[in-house]
Symmetry: C3
Subunit: 351 residues, 3 copies
Amino acid sequence: MEFTVRQIAALLDGEVNGDDTLTVSRLAKIEEATTGSISFLSNLKYEPYLYSTGASAVIVDRSFTPREPVAAALILVENSYSAFTRLLEEYHRQLTFARVGIEQPTYLHASSQLGEHVYVGAFAYVGKNCRIGSNVKIYPHVYIGDNVTIGDNTVIHSGAKLIDNTVVGKFCVIHPNAVIGSDGFGFAPQPDGTYKTIPQLGNVILEDFVSVGTNTTIDCATMGSTIIRQGAKLDNLIQIGHNVEIGRNTVIAAQTGVSGSTKIGENCVVAGQVGFAGHLIIANNTRFGAQTGVSKSVKEEGQSLNGSPAFDLKDSLRAAAVHRRLPDLERRLIDLEKEVQRQQRTESGQA
Amino acid sequence: MEFTVRQIAALLDGEVNGDDTLTVSRLAKIEEATTGSISFLSNLKYEPYLYSTGASAVIVDRSFTPREPVAAALILVENSYSAFTRLLEEYHRQLTFARVGIEQPTYLHASSQLGEHVYVGAFAYVGKNCRIGSNVKIYPHVYIGDNVTIGDNTVIHSGAKLIDNTVVGKFCVIHPNAVIGSDGFGFAPQPDGTYKTIPQLGNVILEDFVSVGTNTTIDCATMGSTIIRQGAKLDNLIQIGHNVEIGRNTVIAAQTGVSGSTKIGENCVVAGQVGFAGHLIIANNTRFGAQTGVSKSVKEEGQSLNGSPAFDLKDSLRAAAVHRRLPDLERRLIDLEKEVQRQQRTESGQA
Amino acid sequence: MEFTVRQIAALLDGEVNGDDTLTVSRLAKIEEATTGSISFLSNLKYEPYLYSTGASAVIVDRSFTPREPVAAALILVENSYSAFTRLLEEYHRQLTFARVGIEQPTYLHASSQLGEHVYVGAFAYVGKNCRIGSNVKIYPHVYIGDNVTIGDNTVIHSGAKLIDNTVVGKFCVIHPNAVIGSDGFGFAPQPDGTYKTIPQLGNVILEDFVSVGTNTTIDCATMGSTIIRQGAKLDNLIQIGHNVEIGRNTVIAAQTGVSGSTKIGENCVVAGQVGFAGHLIIANNTRFGAQTGVSKSVKEEGQSLNGSPAFDLKDSLRAAAVHRRLPDLERRLIDLEKEVQRQQRTESGQA
């Protein structure tokens, strides 16, 4: 996408100082920008770059006065940093929703309905009785099984798989090769040592504004639903077991695993590589450090936990500090034992 | 799929009390069931729901007598819980094997053979010299390389990749985006600090009744075979390295990693996020707690291990309990040291 | 691929003792080889197999003299082990680069350029303005977005996804279902508890000779580039966050995660399931044990670290040994406390 400096200034309620007919097509840091880029100057530490940058345009604060001549067109705004952020978001929004239409070949079952302005990439598959909202973007190699519902403005990236009966809300983003709704891990042990598969007949529900990371897997419920509540954000390579529930606005970092039937509350923050046992209930506003092992429910809200098994974050850091000194502690304990025994013998001798 | 209450009663050797011409198409919990659903009542705690449920039919024990009028048709059986389980399994089986035929477009090399009643979804790829058994279900976006053999009644879900020379047994299930037979991680360090790739020319063998989870990766052997024995069940996002062997009926939970050439015995139970070093031998019937780090072979059968590095489960829980009190222990040790030094000084003063 | 014994002898500068018109098509261990296989004998422990092997040909040292009759043709070379390794590499190279041509159907945008001798498998997708080098192999179900550059001799396996603006060097291997360039995990917390997506507009650069494992995910930079330097090797199911940099010839084992903006130096060796916090700088030649949790930068080169949180490997093994004895240590501490108190009381009594 290409814009003139004038168009961008209009979008940002800014004023142009320089050639407003120049075109820009990229956003870049001021120290790395080349012709065709737009950049910004907020922290004055970077001011020297303004006089040497290759950027075609630079957004600056209205209050700023250059001390040397500037080759780039300047766009003067109230706050250059927040204006640049707005520009990033607008650019991202346009990139995301620019794709419209159905590439060939695709497999779209006749019983499924597509909303307006959808994009369906080549080699995408949509099964029976699906309802796909407006502005939905379905990238190449996406698989959508039967009876799947997808809300407006949701983006499903290449290679993601939505298994039968999955329900996805509005404004969700499902990243490449994520799998939603595959079978939970349920096997009943038999007397002869083998395992019988427990049929997994439930589904997965993603509410609105949910983000599911690349190669993340969310298993369907055995019966009922695995649920990711509104605004929850899941990073890459996460495992969500069957019948799990993740609360509103909870954020989970990469490679964390949540075992079956665990319910994590709202506004929790879970770092990377954390593991949750099954059938736990985690209170709202709980925070977990990286690699924490959570084997018990958390009843009190607002705690920070760490370690495997998990306990209070500060206590765990103190314990970890002593842990490093364990060989020294053991040596000192042995010395004490010897000294106390010596004193004991002396005492006996005295007696 | 839709069935009449009469058909279901016949399947379950049950008797109908009510309208046996009603149709049902879904299974549901009694407290959540709506018209068109069939449910069951086993635990009498749930009896009140029987009188208000929206279910079209409910399976109950023959010995049960309702205290109030029931709108749903009742199916009377010996044991309502096990009858419902049979129904779940039958429903699941029919769902799984209902798909037959070849969708378009697909890529099927002429040199490969397909058995009877197979399903091949659109955009599936089958390379040269493959032998695909009967009742095999190959979902959209599956990739099957050259010289792959797949036994009867195996299901391969969307996006799974079976690389050249993979052998899959009967009644296996390979979940979406799992990858079987890609290169092992083998690199020979060179004098200049670079690494040379060690060609990985072996394959992967899955015996019968193996389950491979979503986004799980099983590397081919350097030479010979990586083997998953009969009835082993692997959850999601697991890494199985080259030349590994997983014993019969061993169950491994999500995000566990097994390094190259390690052999895990039969009937082991491995929890989530466990890591195994390479070249280990693990005895039969060993159990591993979540996040265990296994750096040594396990020779004695039937142990339960935990912790990183791994040791006896009960001992590890006791050590973890003391670990939390380490800062207190260190303080007490320091107090003792002071007291003993004081006593020493007193003793010297006495001398 | 099939070769005569004579062709192989010529490749290896060897001499044939036996029938040089036999054909072989497989490489195998001497104890497992069957007709049509070629094997080698280096370690004389395996000599007995030479007299019973089913191999059609066996590579042996020129200095070796059989004590019994051998059915297989012998290929005599200076060093049978290194000759066999050369054969493996040549076989692997031929296997890798044998595929040429464009299968149907594929989606290749007209604005993209393909080099010579490329392979594009069925159902592969190449977006706008891509430049694909010579000898590049693009397997079925690969997705290549817009503005992607791929250097000569790079292989991209089935189901891998290269998102817009990714740059891949020469002689790289990208394994199945790996995802390169998807959005980093960036969300700005809002006053109402929700999160706003921070647009991720940067890209990923893989330099030459990089290997990316199966189902591994490498996020694009927020702005600028996530960079994997020349010769770095990443195993399966690894997470590389946005704006990370991995140094030259650094090797990372499976299921490790590197959080955003961390820079790992050159020639590091990272074992499996290691976690790195964000914004760290790791010195060259650092080694990390399995499951290490790295929360601080490493300034001094050449260290070996282990544990969570990480410290010196040897110290961590010593601390872990004491950790197992913690319940015993606590008991001994309590005994000492009692004894010292008793002595204290005795002393007071004496006073």
